[in-house]
Assembly symmetry: C2
Amino acid sequence: MNIYDISKKAGVSIATVSRVLNGSDKVSNTTRKKVLDVIEEYRYTPNAFARSLGLNSMYTVGILCSDSSDVYQAQAIYYLERELKKNAYASMLCCTGHQLEEKQKCLQLLISRNVDAVFFIGSHFVEESPESNDYIIETAKKTPVFILNGELKGKNIYSILCDDYMASKDITDLIFSHGSTSPIYLYRTLNYSGKKKIHGFLKSCENHGITTSEKRLFSCPGPLDKTCTILENIKESGLYFDSVISADDELATGAVKYALHNHLSIPEDFQIAGYNNSVLSTCSTPEITTVDNRVEYMCVTSVSLMMQVFQGQDLPTKNMFSGSIIEHNTTRKG
Amino acid sequence: MNIYDISKKAGVSIATVSRVLNGSDKVSNTTRKKVLDVIEEYRYTPNAFARSLGLNSMYTVGILCSDSSDVYQAQAIYYLERELKKNAYASMLCCTGHQLEEKQKCLQLLISRNVDAVFFIGSHFVEESPESNDYIIETAKKTPVFILNGELKGKNIYSILCDDYMASKDITDLIFSHGSTSPIYLYRTLNYSGKKKIHGFLKSCENHGITTSEKRLFSCPGPLDKTCTILENIKESGLYFDSVISADDELATGAVKYALHNHLSIPEDFQIAGYNNSVLSTCSTPEITTVDNRVEYMCVTSVSLMMQVFQGQDLPTKNMFSGSIIEHNTTRKG
DNA sequence: TTGTAAGCGTTATCAC
DNA sequence: GTGATAACGCTTACAA
């Protein structure tokens, strides 16, 4: 059943059927009704591929992330998809992992479907060595690119990101102000936003007279039980710490585990801060003080930017906003 | 830059270019090289829409879920996408929420892109009233439908699901065997798999001589802090309970909160079981004993089924597998 | 092995 | 308002 069949049954031309389908007002009401009745009767739906070929768009965008099951990324996907759907765009999702080659393949998978735009979730996508980002810059020549919580300069590339430096500095300041003297910092990867957070931590330490703060940074790759072990090792090594600032909430749950196992009372003797304001922060007991980096706002803004780009507007390529602190029960009050 | 341009530059016909693009072996090596060089030089990529129109497929499938940021669904999405990508299929994602009308709209969004198959994640999609599932049955007339962790009978509809009845019965049995005399059950929604789990719990209670087990079922909708309040209320009401079986890990973290606030020692005085084997079970302190309903296996199986369906094979419409118990620290040992 | 030409099912530009 | 008809850019018989 195609547009020709419908036009025959309705006794009109395919042009008229097409007009009815696309809501043109240059169709008389009687003809419109006649056509709509036939469409209804045969439950006809236009062929998406032919339609796309004519319009050169399928109203679909690509979303790339490293791991859709990560709580932060999963949230971003949810909000992005919701906003895109509001604008009648469908969302194609592709998880890349952390290998550059795989990232390129995934982008290719989306681009080969002629998506109208591409969203990258997370700063994992902005690589250390500039030439490793060429595949993104190349893509942007034809397809608008939006980088969420990462920054990459280039034509047709728009970055939307939380001021992680400031948020990280603020939450470290908070913990100092509540009496901590010896914080340590846990992180997972050293990507763009990861570095910003570390700088915020270091700046706060500097402001509070800690001179050897670089020695208070600890990488925690791998699964959660490792985090606990790493903290035990730090204690064994003789480095004193009375608070943990973490690059994400999952690491913070590791710190909670450590504190509980060592019978440190939270937050009186030991303070902990997470990052991302994810479900993990509230599922933990005690609930974890965390940074809200406003995923929803970020996604709403990105899609709104996209729509403006499609309308040919000229827009700022870097869009930064502030995070905020959510105080729960792993930091002291007052 | 289209196939005609390439054919001219390479001095061959468009048919030959097409053959090269599609890896036909009926092209001489010299011509192939000539064409590939031109393609490379101009960075030509074939137009996806025209290609789809010819092939009547864009090698893309739709994934529907109620909420991609739910930890369980996020995992399913991750594994599904991974398996689909292995088979060169792209994934279109759509989150529906819980309103029937919205579910239908989302399905329409995917179907209007001519996806090759549709996956429904979770039993949220199988409604109480049979006629509410008609939109799925209707879709299945043209597009294969795969229901993950739910069951719906119909032509071209394939269900892949964990035996939640058995798993729930097993984990309740386990808690009884470790000395609990008075378990209660927490659930969120009464969908297909939700009911199966409840039946498993009730069966185990019956086998252990509890006659009023229906009174031990509690609905916990809404956010996490409500779960804790509900448990407090149950205690206030005078109903004694020494263990909590939950329909998902998030509810179980609520039970952990309750126990810790009431200084009940876990698992000696109070046992807790979750469901889904999600990151929440290990991020909690103590880590939560849970049911592994093998999301990865489910997704791998579904995609493998899909590929077989595409090859025209005749397959069972109901595919059930067993879950298994992961014992952590909220249940007693030995 | 290669080329010609007929689809695929729309949208959009003309006339009328 | 409506109807021919030419794109859109591929795939794939069928010829050569």
